[in-house]
C-alpha cells in the first residue's frame, strides 16, 4: 500500500508542484487577509460562534430543518453511510438517465459520480474545474479549486484527448468551451444534483455559493433537484448563515462574496426537490470531544492555502478527497480503517492552518491527538520505531543520565553525518548537519550584500468614500458592474431588495427568483434604492424575506484555470445597477 511519503515524493519529483502552487497560494493568502480586513472586525468570531452553536445542537437543528423542509414540500432523507446515501440518490433519481452535477465535497466523499455511472446513469460534472479533473481521472487537488494542479497546456491536452481540439490554450477559450458543453447538457437532462454550503434550520432554506452559474441552472432544474450535504452543514438561522457567508468567500478565494449566493427557498413550480443528509461517520466524530470541533468546518480551503506541506506536494499526495490540513484531520476520522492513518504525520505542525481557519478549528492540535491515536491503534510505526522510542525514553530518564542521554542523542542525531536518503528527482538529500563546536565567524556579520527580497506588493490603504451607497458603487464597480444613467436596451430589468456596501452585492428576492431568465438575459439592469444599502452581508438579514433569495456579487466568472479570472460563464457579463433615486 502506498502512503503519503510515496505519493508526495512522486508529486515533488515528477511534477515539481511548488513551482506553480507556491506563488498562487502566497498571493491567495495575502489577498484573503486583505479581503477579510474589509469586513467587520469580528467576522471570524461570529462565524466560529455560529458553527460552534450548530455543532452543539446538531440533532436539534436537523429536526427543525426537517420540519421546515416538510412545509416547503422538500423531501428530507438521512443516510447513515456512504453506500446508503448513494442508494437513496439512485432511488430519488428514478428513471432519470442524464444528470447534471455541480461541485460537492460530500459527493466526492461518497463516490457519487462513480457509483451513478456504474449504474448506467450519464453524469456530467458541470463545474469547470470538476469537468477538467473528471477528464484527468485523478480527482480534485483542492477543495475549492479542483484543477489548480493543472496548467493551461495540460488542460488543452485533456480536452483534445476527449475529442475537443481547441486552437489555443487561452483560459478564456478553454473555459468557454467547457461552459458551452455544460450549457447544452443543461438544456436536455433529467435531473440536477448540487451540494449545499449550509442548511438553515429555522426556515428550511439552503445557502449555496458559486461563481459560474451552473448551480443556478441546477437548482432551477424544471423537474428534479437533489441536494447532497453533510450532517454537520446546518446552522440555526439566517444570522448564522450570513455570518458564515461573510468569511467563506474571502477565506476561500479572496472574493468579497461569490458571484452567486443562493438562499434557496421553496422549489420552483413543477420541480421535485430532495435533500440527502449524509452522516458517514460524523455522529461518531461528534461523540469524541477531542475532534468534534472539526465539524465546524465550512470547507473554505484556507488551511491548505496556507499549508507549507500542501504547497509542496499538492492535494493529490493525500490520497483522499479531503486534502491539506483539514484532509489530514478528517480523513482518518471518516475512514478509521482506511489507509489514511499516516496523513496526520504529513505536517510540520507549524500552525499556519489553525491561524488561517476562519471558524477557529485547532487543526494542528488535532493532528497531534490523531498521531497518538494512530500509534496506540498500531496503525503506524513498526516494531523498530517502537523499540527506538522506548530506548530513547529510558536513556533520557536515567537519574544520572545526562551524559548517557547526550551520547545517545549524539548517536541518533549525528549518526550518519549527511542524512543521505534516496530523494527521487531533485537530487539526494542535500542537508548536512553542522559540526557541534564549530565556531561562528563574526566576519559574516559584515559580509552582507544588498537586500534583494521580492516582497508582495501591499496595496496602499484605500480611502473609502463616506456614504454606504458610494462605497457600494466603488466595490461593485471593481467587480465590473456598470452604473449607467439608464437601463441598456434589451436588458432584463429587476428591482433589488437591498445591496451591500463592503462587497458590492445586490440582493434579489422572489417566490422564487427566476434564475433561468436571469442567466438567459443578454444584459441585466438592477434597480437599487440607496436607502437599502447595508454595510456588510450580515446586514441583509431583515431583507432576505421568507422565501427564495439570490445575492449577486459581480457577473458570473471562473478562475478554475491557473486562477485566471474569466468573466461571463453562464449568464451575462453585462451587469448594470441603476440607483433609484439617483445619488448626487
Amino acid at each position: 500500500m502506498t502512503g503519503f511519503r510515496d505519493r508526495a515524493r512522486r508529486e515533488i519529483a515528477e511534477e515539481h508542484r511548488s513551482a506553480a502552487l507556491l506563488p498562487i497560494m502566497r498571493k491567495l493568502v495575502a489577498d484573503s487577509r486583505a479581503m477579510l480586513a474589509r469586513g467587520p472586525a469580528d467576522a471570524r468570531d461570529r462565524a466560529a460562534a455560529a458553527r460552534a452553536d450548530a455543532v452543539d445542537r446538531l440533532e436539534e437543528l436537523q429536526r427543525r430543518l426537517r420540519e421546515q423542509l416538510a412545509l416547503r414540500g422538500v423531501g428530507y432523507h438521512r443516510a447513515a453511510t456512504a453506500a446508503e446515501a448513494v442508494d437513496i440518490v439512485r432511488r430519488l433519481l428514478g428513471d432519470a438517465r442524464r444528470v447534471a452535477k455541480s461541485k460537492s465535497m460530500v459527493a466526492e466523499e461518497i463516490g457519487l459520480t462513480h457509483a451513478l455511472r456504474e449504474a448506467g446513469i450519464d453524469v456530467l460534472e458541470t463545474d469547470i474545474g470538476e469537468y477538467i479533473v473528471d477528464l484527468e481521472g485523478r480527482g480534485p487537488s483542492h477543495i475549492t479549486a479542483p484543477a489548480v494542479h493543472l496548467n493551461r497546456a495540460r488542460i488543452r491536452d485533456l480536452l483534445a484527448r476527449a475529442g475537443a481540439p481547441l486552437e489555443t490554450d487561452d483560459p478564456v477559450v478553454l473555459s468557454q468551451h467547457i461552459r458551452d458543453v455544460v450549457g447544452r447538457y443543461f438544456q436536455d437532462c433529467d435531473a440536477a444534483i448540487t451540494g449545499a454550503n449550509t442548511a438553515i434550520a429555522s426556515s428550511g432554506r439552503f445557502a449555496i455559493v458559486e461563481n459560474e452559474g451552473n448551480v443556478a441552472l441546477g437548482v432551477s432544474h424544471p423537474r428534479k433537484h437533489i441536494i447532497v450535504t453533510g450532517l454537520e452543514k446546518v446552522v440555526a438561522d439566517e444570522a448564522g448563515a450570513l455570518a458564515i457567508l461573510q468569511v467563506l468567500a474571502p477565506s476561500a478565494t479572496a472574493q468579497p462574496l461569490t458571484a452567486f449566493t443562493h438562499i434557496l427557498g421553496s422549489p420552483p413550480p413543477g420541480q421535485e426537490r430532495h435533500v440527502v443528509v449524509v452522516d458517514n461517520g460524523r455522529s461518531r466524530i461528534l461523540a469524541d470531544p477531542r475532534y468534534r470541533d472539526v465539524l465546524r468546518c465550512i470547507r473554505c480551503g484556507a488551511c491548505m492555502n496556507a499549508c507549507p506541506v500542501y504547497r509542496a506536494v499538492s492535494g493529490l499526495a493525500y490520497g483522499s478527497p479531503y486534502m491539506g490540513p483539514i484532509g489530514a484531520v478528517i480523513s482518518p476520522l471518516l475512514w478509521p480503517r482506511g489507509g489514511q492513518a499516516d496523513l496526520p504525520f504529513a505536517s510540520t505542525l507549524c500552525g499556519a492552518c489553525t491561524e488561517a481557519c476562519p471558524v477557529g478549528i485547532p487543526l494542528h492540535r488535532m493532528l497531534l491527538d490523531l498521531r497518538a491515536d494512530a500509534v496506540e491503534r498500531g496503525a503506524v510505526a513498526g516494531r523498530a520505531e517502537r523499540a527506538a522510542w522506548k530506548a530513547w525514553a529510558a536513556a533520557f530518564s536515567l537519574p544520572t543520565g545526562a551524559r548517557a542521554a547526550a551520547a545517545m542523542a549524539r548517536l541518533g542525531l549525528r549518526g550518519g553525518g549527511r542524512l543521505v536518503r534516496p530523494l527521487a528527482a531533485r537530487g539526494a538529500d542535500p542537508r548536512l548537519l553542522p559540526e557541534p563546536a564549530e565556531p561562528h565567524d563574526p566576519a559574516l556579520l559584515a559580509a552582507a550584500g544588498p537586500d534583494r527580497s521580492e516582497r508582495p506588493v501591499i496595496a496602499p490603504e484605500e480611502v473609502l468614500p463616506p456614504t454606504p451607497v458610494e462605497r457600494f458603487r466603488l466595490r461593485a464597480g471593481q467587480l465590473g458592474v456598470g452604473f449607467p444613467a439608464a437601463a441598456p436596451a434589451s436588458a432584463l430589468e429587476l428591482s433589488a431588495a437591498a445591496a451591500v456596501a463592503s462587497t458590492g452585492s445586490v440582493l434579489l428576492t422572489g417566490a422564487p427568483v427566476d434564475r433561468r431568465a436571469l442567466l438567459a438575459a443578454p444584459a441585466v439592469a438592477l434597480r437599487v434604492d440607496p436607502a437599502t444599502v447595508v454595510e456588510y452581508p450580515a446586514g441583509l438579514e431583515p431583507y432576505l424575506g421568507a422565501d427564495d433569495a439570490l445575492i449577486l456579487t459581480g457577473p458570473s466568472r471562473t478562475a478554475d484555470i491557473e486562477k485566471v479570472i474569466v468573466r461571463g460563464i453562464h449568464g451575462s457579463q453585462e451587469y448594470a445597477v441603476l440607483l433609484e433615486p439617483p445619488i448626487a
Binding site: A346, R386, F396, A405, L413, P430, R431, P434
Partner: protein, 239 residues
C-alpha cells in the same frame, strides 16, 4: 537581582554545546543568578511522533528538576511551547494541575530577556547585518514575535532584515524532517531562497531546531549562511 533556572534542551546540548554558556553570560550580565537544571528533554520528539507514554516518562524528569524554581528560562521556543502547552495534558486530573503549575513557570529566553528590567542597562553593541527567522512555535504558540524583535532592536549597530514571507515554515517539524525528507527539503528550499535574498549571511532565530535544519540545508547546497542562536548573538553584543 533575580534567581533563575536555565534549561538547556537536549538537541542544543548536542548540536550547539556553547549555547547554554552564552545564555548564562547574558542572564548574569542582566544581574541574575543562574542555576543550570538537570533536565534533559521536554519530551517533544516523542510527543510529536505520537508516543505519549514515552514523552511523559521524559517530561516528568524535567518537571521534577524544575519544581524548586520560580522561573525556568529555556533557550528553545519549541521546547517552551511543548512544556507550557502540551506537557501538562499528558497527565490525568488532578495530577495535570500540579504539572501545569510548574509548566507555567517556563519562559522562553526572548520573552524573559525582553521583559527584564535591566535590559536597558546592558549596552548591547554589534555592528553588522542579520536576517531573522522566527520559528512557528515562537510566533504562533508563544506569541513571542514582539519580544524577539524588541531585543534585536536594542543592539547598537545591528541591521536586522526580515525575509519575504517571514511567517512561512522552514520545513523542519521535528521528526517530520526525517520521516518526510523530500517534502521537508522542498519547503526548506523556499525558506533558504527568501533568507538568501535579504543579502544577510547570518540568520538568527529564537529556535535552534529550525536553525540547525536551515544550516544543514545551506551547508549541503553550498549557500553561505550561518545560523546563530539568540543567546549567542547577545553574548557577542555584550562587550
Amino acid at each position: 537581582m533575580a534567581s533563575v533556572a536555565l534549561f538547556d534542551p537536549c538537541y542544543l546540548q548536542t548540536l550547539r554545546p556553547g549555547d547554554a554558556g552564552d545564555a548564562r553570560r547574558v542572564l548574569e550580565a542582566l544581574g541574575d543568578t543562574v542555576t543550570l537544571i538537570d533536565g534533559r528533554c521536554c519530551g517533544q520528539p516523542a510527543f510529536n511522533s505520537g508516543f505519549r507514554t514515552e514523552a511523559r516518562t521524559v517530561g516528568r524528569q524535567l518537571l521534577k528538576a524544575a519544581r524548586a524554581h520560580s522561573a525556568i528560562v529555556t533557550t528553545s521556543g519549541s521546547c517552551t511551547a511543548m512544556v507550557r502547552h502540551y506537557l501538562p495534558g499528558l497527565w490525568q486530573p488532578p495530577r495535570d494541575a500540579a504539572a501545569a503549575s510548574i509548566a507555567a513557570r517556563f519562559v522562553d529566553f526572548a520573552t524573559y530577556v525582553a521583559r527584564h528590567p535591566a535590559l536597558d542597562r546592558l549596552g548591547l553593541r554589534l555592528p553588522g547585518v542579520v536576517v531573522l527567522h522566527e520559528s512557528c512555535h515562537s510566533r504562533r504558540e508563544l506569541h513571542a514575535s514582539a519580544a524577539f524583535s524588541a531585543i534585536l532592536s536594542r543592539i547598537d549597530g545591528l541591521e536586522v532584515r526580515e525575509p519575504a514571507f517571514a511567517e512561512e515554515c522552514c520545513g523542519f517539524g521535528g521528526t517530520f524532517a526525517v520521516k518526510q525528507p523530500e517534502t521537508s527539503v522542498e519547503i526548506m528550499r523556499a525558506k533558504l531562497d527568501a533568507l538568501g535574498a535579504t543579502g544577510a549571511r547570518v540568520v538568527v532565530s529564537p529556535d535552534y531546531s529550525c536553525l540547525a535544519h536551515l544550516q544543514s540545508g545551506a551547508a549541503g547546497l553550498g549557500i553561505q549562511l550561518e545560523a546563530w542562536t539568540l543567546p549567542e548573538l547577545l553574548a557577542r553584543a555584550l562587550a
